[in-house]
């Protein structure tokens, strides 16, 4: 086990960074998209509500692998023809972003709904527009309440980023498979890679559990 770790440490570390990079890019992308769709869903406009609900239901109910492979097998070659190179990493990260944004939209939406409606009414009666009230009063509180759930979504994101292995995304899982093939020692290789994944996911999920407990004990 130690000899595999020493011999392949640079390769493992590269994969580790690619996993983190893809997860963080996808996190920010899906936070932006998810927030937009959440606000669309609580707005009073029927059309935006239907668009957002359709988006969320579609991406929540289709496997991540289907979305990712679609971008890798179909969109990437088409984009290449018009001079826009999309590699496995990009295709995978786009897939992750779209998939996760549907879940984050749900998280933020329930966060917004849990903010008392008197906050919105108070802000509007003080002369703020609906958008201003949403932007400055409701959303900041909704984000704060959603932190534990968002953290759990990030853990899922890190775990799901392993689909990059299917599209040659050079992430941790992809490197794990190639090391396992080189060394013929899949048992120890997968053990080492498991530790690398746990280094990212365990602290976050324990911290989120702790936050959840604290939020439950709080004033809400």
């Amino acid at each position: 086990m130690i000899d595999i770790l020493l011999k392949y440490f640079p390769q493992l570390l590269n994969g580790f960074w690619v996993t983190i990079e893809s997860s963080i890019i996808a996190l920010f992308g899906s936070l932006i998209l998810g927030t937009i769709f959440a606000v669309m869903q609580v707005s009073r406009n029927k059309i935006t509500r239907i668009i957002s609900e359709t988006y969320v239901e579609i991406f929540r109910n289709i496997p991540l692998l289907v979305i990712t492979l679609f971008f890798f097998a179909f969109v990437a070659p088409v984009a290449k023809k018009i001079g826009l190179p999309i590699d496995g990493f990009t295709a995978g990260t786009i897939g992750l972003t779209l998939y996760t944004s549907a879940f984050i939209a749900e998280v933020i939406r329930s966060g917004i709904n849990s903010i008392s409606s008197s906050q919105m009414e108070g802000a509007v009666s003080n002369g703020l527009s609906w958008w201003q009230a949403m932007r400055y009063i409701v959303l900041p509180q909704a984000f704060k309440i959603s932190i534990p759930n968002l953290g759990n979504q990030f853990v899922n994101l890190v775990k799901n980023s392993s689909v990059l292995a299917f599209v040659a995304g050079l992430d941790l899982m992809y490197n794990a498979n190639s090391i396992a093939q080189n060394t013929f020692d899949s048992l120890n290789t997968y053990f080492i890679v498991a530790i690398f994944y746990l280094i990212i996911t365990m602290p976050i999920s324990y911290y989120m559990k702790h936050l959840e407990q604290r939020f439950k004990g709080g004033a809400h």
Binding site: A73, K159, V163, Y190
Partner: protein, 217 residues
Amino acid sequence: MITIAGLFTFDNFRYLFIGLMYTLSVSMISTIFSFIIGSIFGIIVYEKIPYFSKFVSISVDIIRNLPLLLIIFFVYFALPKIGIHFSIFWSSVVAFTFFEATMISEIVRSGINAVDIGQFEGARANGMNNIQTMIFVVLPQAYKKMIPPLVSQFISLVKDTSLATGIVLPELMYRGQIIYGQNSNYMVPVFVILAIIYFLVNFGLSRLSKIIERKMA
């Protein structure tokens, strides 16, 4: 002119349909097993048996925080090195079962926590022992509350079975890839068909769980 008429043959649809059956049967068998194992794990963690509960709870946390794909590869490629062999089908069932059991154990534990403490006391006062109280009084009430999270767990399992493409389980996603591998013009329609099938199954299930939830309330 792109021709895709050759895609819509009876054979192709039968081929995909058998893939869907693989997807559903792997999901169902894994759900049944993981329900049993997850309940046992959940009760052990809830009971706070010295050392043993701590050990189970840490093991559950470790498996929960690993990518499912890693567990699938581990079961199929690494376990044979220590003499444990499974076929492709059973490898995926074992991997999904353990991964889902850890998720379900969390659901069971919080379900038991949500049952009123008076129920425990009442059952004990009526002469039931610990195990009887758990099986006849607490668990039935806990399971009732757990139906919505269990259904959403099943939905994510149906989606996750597509990962078993990695060990060549002939499920829906894999068969889709085989079909568009024959002719690249089929790619977009195949992806659309796959998306529609997955969507219908999962959306239907989530609607069903909402109806059950409303009936129960």
